[in-house]
Each structure stands twice: as structure tokens, then as C-alpha cells.
Symmetry: C2
Subunit: 191 residues, 2 copies
Amino acid sequence: MASLPGIGRKTALRLVLHMLNQDTSDVRAFGQAFVVLKDNVQFCNTCHNISDAPLCSICSSYKREASTICVVEDMRNVIAIENTQQYTGVYHVLGGIISPMDGIGPSELNIDSLVNRIAKSEIKEVIMALSTTLEGDTTNFYIYKKLSEYNIDITTIARGVAIGDDLEYTDEITLGRSILNRMPYSNSLVK
Amino acid sequence: MASLPGIGRKTALRLVLHMLNQDTSDVRAFGQAFVVLKDNVQFCNTCHNISDAPLCSICSSYKREASTICVVEDMRNVIAIENTQQYTGVYHVLGGIISPMDGIGPSELNIDSLVNRIAKSEIKEVIMALSTTLEGDTTNFYIYKKLSEYNIDITTIARGVAIGDDLEYTDEITLGRSILNRMPYSNSLVK
């Protein structure tokens, strides 16, 4: 228990003692769940998202536009974007971002399989939806270079002042960028 | 002293007692500063920004593009945008935003003078740079309706994920909007 992240020795002891007080069947089911987890969960062959089949439910849905790929860092970002209910394309999960400090280079990520997807099938647009950090920017640029030979639109999610934010308390870089990247007012009206 | 915002009776007493301990000349200069403040500070005839002349230093500068007007709520926003060093146009200070709760309607704001500016001189673009709140959106829309008869570009500052922010911790509305308002990747490269 203590090997789990965020759980120290004292918490681990408390949790294990709690387990000892439970029914045998409950504890058995709890343990069995982890065995099943590791055995049954797989990753989608196409987008590398978590899945229970070789093709995930998003890639296999006929409601999604297969010609638009949203590139994200990990499956938590897929969940975040799905929650917005604003995106109807498919995803590509990189499994991380380029971070030399952590020893993660391009070869550790699912970048080659993204290039393969674009080479093989009819893709119109690739949306870069990585975090707006230094590592995210580096990864964006690396992928942009890799994809620039293909005849597709490469876009990024908008960066700017968050909805509900006061201009005064927005940092200078974000505010400066949001002025440079201003857009027609009519686009901002909710459809 | 106690009539100032954020200063209670005890703090006021402490401040006044401190003043009593100062030199007469210092106290006189302190008081005189307020008299001068109210007498000498004026507002720019054109943009309503704070100024020491009938025309403020931004409006009268030959380095600024007079054909681009950035509409802001108050002079603090002018300072915030000037600090980004990314904007070369001029401003129009509304003096507030439409807020029925606080009894502020369109007639209390410098909207008519904005319309006059656009009717009289060669304006190419109006950038709406109000806070991304409900009141800000209402004011944006009101001004948009007022200006839609003129042949000018009406733009807004970009709204989206702030620079340096993690996708996971961005609220759903901002993330959804930033996907809808995505832009060509090449635009995001810093010039």
C-alpha cells in the first residue's frame, strides 16, 4: 500500500487495518479488480487511448469525424476535452510530451504512429491540444515540423484570457498573445 | 482618513498620529499633492484616458496607429495592455461596463463618443478588450450592435487556455471555446 503515490506508511497501515475488518468476499473482490484491470484494459491500436477493445469507442464511432485528429498528451486530456462536448473528431494520445529533463524524447512518444495515420488515411486537420508550457510548445513544434510535408491543416487550440477572467489579473504574456491573436467579434458569439 | 476604501477607524487613527509626528512641511506637501491632483489631472478628450493635457500622450503620439482602437473598461486596463508591449494602436476608455445590478447603463459610459470617433475619422479596426465576464460580454454585444452599421473590423481579444496552463486544470467552458476558436499553428509561432 505504501508504494502507491501520495500514501505514506501511516496511511497505508490505516487502510490495511480497515481491509482486515471487511468481509473476506469484499477483500477478495477488491484484489481481483486489480488483476482484471491489468489483464483486460488495453490501448486503442489507432489513437492509443485507453480502451476495452483493439479499437476504442471514439475511433470506432460513426458519429465522429475521422478526418480531424486532436493530438493530446494523455488520456486525462481526452476526458477533459470530451467533457466540454464541443469536439466531434477523433484523438491521438502521445503518452507524454518531449521533456529532456525527464529523459523523454520523441522516440518514447506515439509520434511515428501519428505520422503513419496521416500518411495512410484521409486526414484534413490536426489540432495540437497540448499544455501551453515549454515542453508542450517544444512537442508542438516537433510534430509541426514532422507533419509540414503533408497537405493538412495544422491548428492549435486558442490561447488567451480564460472565460470569466478579469483583464487586470491576466498575466502579461497571455494578454499580449490574446491581443496579437485577436479574432472577428462575430466568431466569439456562441453558436 | 477613515472614509478611504479599505481603511477602518483604527488604521485611520494610526495614520493620522503618524502624520502628527512628521515635519510641518512634509504634511503640507502631502496635503497639497491632493489639491494639485484634483486640479491638474484631466481626461483625454478623445480616448477618456487619464492625461495631463487635453489630448493624452498615446492619442498624440505619431508612433501609434490611430486607425486601430482598443476598447477597454478603465485606465487600469490601458496600463495592463501597455505593459504587454504588443499593442501599437490607440485606446477608448469606457469608464465602466454595463451592469444593471450596479445601476450602470450604456448612457453612463463613453459609448456615444466612441461612435462619434468612428463616424468622424478613418477607423479600420475596433478591438473589444473587456473582461470575459457576463457584464463584459453584454457591453461587447451592445457596442457591436451600435457599430455594425460602420464598415470596420470588429475583433475581440483571444479567449482560451492561458499561457503556461495545464489542459487538465482548465475549466470546461474555456477549453471548449479554445477548441472551437482554434487557429492555424503557424499563427501561434512568436514573431
